[in-house]
């Protein structure tokens, strides 16, 4: 499965990359890491990932718009929103625009794995 990570934090990117080796998850390959919306849409067009993690707390990007763009390009994509809990309204908007699930910060590795498992299901 192809995964696109849309996040400006190298720490988060590292964490996601690390948990992919958990035996419970199927083969997931990271096809790209985008730091902003343009990159994200471009990579998604190019590689057509089945999975996308989208950080809503990035300063220079409207995560909702980006979600919408990617979901329109590829209706079958599974987008996991990552966000801070206080921003419920935006997260709900993003879900309406095509995301499948939501994980709030801070999260443990285990929570991340569970979220991936649900997304793939």
């Amino acid at each position: 499965m192809k995964l696109l990570i849309v996040d400006d934090s190298s720490i988060i990117r590292g964490r996601i990359a690390r948990i992919l080796s958990d035996p419970r998850l199927p083969e997931i390959r990271i096809i790209g890491m985008a730091r902003n919306g343009v990159e994200a849409v471009g990579l998604s067009q190019q590689f057509k990932p089945e999975l996308v993690t989208m950080d809503l707390t990035m300063p220079e990007m409207d995560g909702v718009e980006c979600t919408e763009a990617i979901a329109t390009l590829n209706p079958k994509v599974n987008i996991l929103i990552i966000s801070a809990l206080s921003d419920k309204a935006t997260a709900i908007k993003a879900l309406k625009k095509g995301a499948k699930g939501f994980l709030y910060k801070p999260f443990t590795d285990e929570q991340l794995i569970q979220a991936f498992l649900e997304m793939i299901d």
Binding site: A89, I92, A99, D121
Partner: protein, 725 residues
């Protein structure tokens, strides 16, 4: 139990409902089976009749054909025998002829032939044939009543080709058949003279077929039908019973399940209801729901409308989006639970108090498709309140720590001073409590004293801006006020006061330790105490002095004495904190002692020619031995009287007169450091319990010092603590 009886009632009503149905079905079935049986039996017998009739017809037709043949032949001759005599009724000149050998031959006319054949036939098959006519030529051919009737019927109805009927002949059942004999061309040869016309009916042939064989067959068929129908009926009845029983059972199950659901919905604490895709509530909901939501709930109500009234616009929008998402297929239920915007909805309580409700949504699937959302409503007021309290408490402690840290930065010495002073004050309170005299009056005095001290702490805390201490002291004070108003201090009040005191100690200790840690490592000496910065030294000394002075004044005022405190304690600043702490307490005790026991009341002093003010000198100086210090508290009061002590030893029962006399002066004096000793004549409220001295002794031990006492009666008392720093 209620459950059992209601289900029994349910069963009864269910059964009675089905009774009618059962009866109806059985009746219906019986009627059907019966009808079928009747029809079949009827058909069987009809069939038998038809078969017999068929046989009769066949016989008749055969007769007609043979007659036709015979008449067409023009004449058939047979040998004359007994059985075939010439036919007397045949008027024919050619009736009798001779054969080739001259044997007599006679003409067998068709009627004759028929009759002979009939006779033969009857013998073998039992079928009775009878050629007959209403005006017969031969007498034997007369019709019997039935034949006569039948013939007449045939004659009057020319289109009737035949007539048959069942009849009993000779007690046996027969099918009697009669067919007309229609005159044909070939008959005319012989019968023309009789006036026959072609096409005319001239009598007929009756064929009577015995029904028995057919009936036997029909009967056995009937029996078979009977048995099979009976079996069928039985089968049907059994089937119906089982069918009905299943219906009853499933009805009961449904009723029971319905009852269980109702019971659950009645008792469950949470509010439960189903939400369909149009935002409408279901027909069933839990009994607690209307109460919880504080409004009337009708089945099928529009939940979104209710929601709009309950929450602000933003929350409403989020909520409707959230519900939409859940009703849709795309989003994963488990991954969006945290986004629920309705987990803390404020609602007006009964008495104006706020309540909080949480709405939780779960998908309900029907055949794999999302059909509804199950909504669980809970009252989370308590949780919310606790959270709020926790937040508030956190806020408060944060503020306190902030204040503290602020103080630490700005003015650590003042803060330290406050800690020290307050601790001393608390110790004083504790001492008073220890020496409690449980008379009404004594306790009221203690109360007053404690109130003063606490009030003092409150003031100091306020001055510092240490709000926590201030408010704690205030609450403490308030409780004391109540006790004072009541006019009595009971045993449990004393306990309560002790508890409040402990609370004070603990708060002080925790704040103090934070302060110590905050000031902490870099500037700490190896004792863990903060080495004071320049200028701070002075402050420490100052605060020490002030405390002692204030203490002395307080006690003096209490006692109606006048004292002056003189200090020389500059060197205290150089001592480590653990020592100065103990010295402080020691000083407190000694000064108190001095004021209480040493210094005489104003009048006495004047009478003795002493200055009206008693003087207490406190000093702390290094001795000739390096790092060795003497801490001295000296008063110019009445001095320590060995005799008085000795007397006290005897009167308090601690030892006998002999033992007391045996002690030398030094030992006598040392006795005052033992527990339970006191020289105050009457145990009064501040002293006289004999515990001050051993506290001092204790503390001296703590700093590994020596306590020395010097005194002269009427002149001075001097306590000296020698220790190494």
């Amino acid at each position: 139990m209620a459950t059992t009886s209601t289900s029994v009632i349910a069963t009864k009503s269910v059964i009675s409902k089905y009774r009618a149905l059962t009866v109806g079905l059985i009746v219906f079935w019986t009627v059907c089976v019966g009808a079928s049986l009747w029809i079949n039996i009827d058909r069987t017998y009809r069939h038998a009749e038809e078969a017999a009739g068929h046989q009769a017809r066949t016989a008749f037709d055969k007769d007609v054909i043979y007659r036709r043949w015979s008449s067409r032949l023009g004449g058939v001759y047979a040998k004359v025998t007994e059985t075939t005599p010439p036919n007397p009724y045949l008027r024919d000149p050619e009736r009798d002829i001779s054969g080739a050998k001259g044997e007599p031959l006679t003409k067998i006319n068709p009627a004759y032939m028929t009759r002979i054949v009939h006779e033969l036939g009857e013998l073998s098959s039992g079928i009775v044939g009878h050629i007959t006519s209403n005006n017969p030529i031969r007498p034997g051919n007369e019709p019997d009543p039935w034949e006569a009737r039948a013939l007449t019927l045939l004659e009057s109805h020319p289109d009737m080709k035949e007539f048959s009927e069942r009849q009993i002949m000779n007690g046996k059942p027969y099918l009697r058949f009669i067919g007309p004999l229609i005159t044909e061309e070939s008959c005319m040869g012989c019968h023309a003279f009789q006036g026959y016309k072609v096409g005319e009916q001239r009598g007929g042939i009756s064929v009577s077929v015995p029904m028995e064989p057919f009936l036997v067959q029909a009967n056995s068929a009937t029996v078979f039908l009977g048995i099979s129908h009976a079996g069928l009926w039985l089968f049907g009845v059994v089937f119906f019973f089982m069918f009905i029983r299943n219906l009853i059972k499933s009805d009961e199950q449904i009723a029971m399940a319905q009852e269980e659901t109702t019971e659950i919905l009645t008792t469950v604490h949470e509010g439960l209801f189903l939400l369909d895709k149009n935002g409408k509530m279901g027909t069933q909901f839990s009994a607690s729901l209307p109460g919880m939501m504080r409004r009337e709930i009708q089945p099928g109500m529009d939940f979104t409308a209710i929601l709009r009234e309950m929450v602000p616009q933003k929350v409403f929008e989020n909520a409707t989006s959230y519900i939409e998402l859940l009703l849709g297929n795309r989003v994963k239920e488990s991954l969006v639970a945290d986004l629920n915007p309705l987990n803390e909805v404020e609602i007006e309580g009964d008495s104006g108090a706020k309540h909080y409700l949480s709405f939780n949504f779960n998908r309900v699937l029907e055949e794999g498709e999302i059909s509804h959302l199950l909504v669980t409503v809970q009252d989370v007021t308590e949780r919310v309140y606790l959270e709020q309290q926790l937040e508030a408490a956190k806020d408060r402690s944060r503020k306190e720590v902030e204040v503290l840290l602020n103080l630490l930065q700005k003015d650590p010495v003042t803060l330290q001073q406050f800690f020290t002073t307050t601790e001393q004050s608390l110790t004083q309170i504790n001492e008073r409590l220890r020496n409690d005299d449980d008379t009404m009056e004594g306790r009221m005095h203690i109360l007053a004293y404690i109130m003063r001290v606490v009030h003092g702490i409150k003031g100091e805390a306020a001055a510092l801006g240490a709000e926590m201490f201030e408010s704690y002291a205030h609450s403490f004070e308030q409780e004391l006020v109540v006790m004072r108003e009541r006019g009595e201090v009971r045993g449990e009040d004393i306990v309560r006061i002790t508890v409040l005191l402990e609370g004070f100690y603990e708060r002080l200790a925790s704040m103090s330790s934070i302060a110590t840690r905050a000031v902490g490592s870099p500037s700490a000496s190896k004792d863990g105490a903060a080495v004071p910065t320049e200028g701070a030294e002075e402050k420490i000394i100052k605060s020490f002095e002030e405390n002692i002075r204030n203490l002395a004044q307080r006690i003096a005022i209490d006692d109606g004495k006048q004292v002056v405190v003189v200090t020389d304690i500059a060197q205290i600043a150089t001592l480590p904190r653990r020592i100065t702490k103990e010295l402080g307490s020691i000083a407190v005790q000694l000064v108190r002692n001095a004021v209480k026991h040493g210094i005489e009341p104003l009048q006495d002093r004047i009478a003795q020619g002493k200055s009206p003010h008693g003087e207490i000198q406190i000093s702390c100086r290094e001795t000739e031995v390096p790092d060795q210090f003497d801490f001295v508290v000296r008063d110019n009061g009445r001095g320590i009287s060995v005799a008085r002590i000795r007397k006290q030893l005897i009167t308090s029962g601690r030892m006998s007169a002999a033992e007391a006399e045996a002690l030398n002066a030094k030992d006598v004096i040392m006795k005052i450091f033992e527990t339970g000793f006191s020289t105050a004549e009457e145990a009064d409220r501040d002293a006289g319990r004999g515990v001050g001295m051993d506290v001092i002794a204790d503390k001296v031990l703590k700093i590994r010092g020596n306590l020395m006492l010097n005194s002269k009666i009427g002149e001075f008392t001097e306590f000296r603590v020698r220790f190494d720093a």
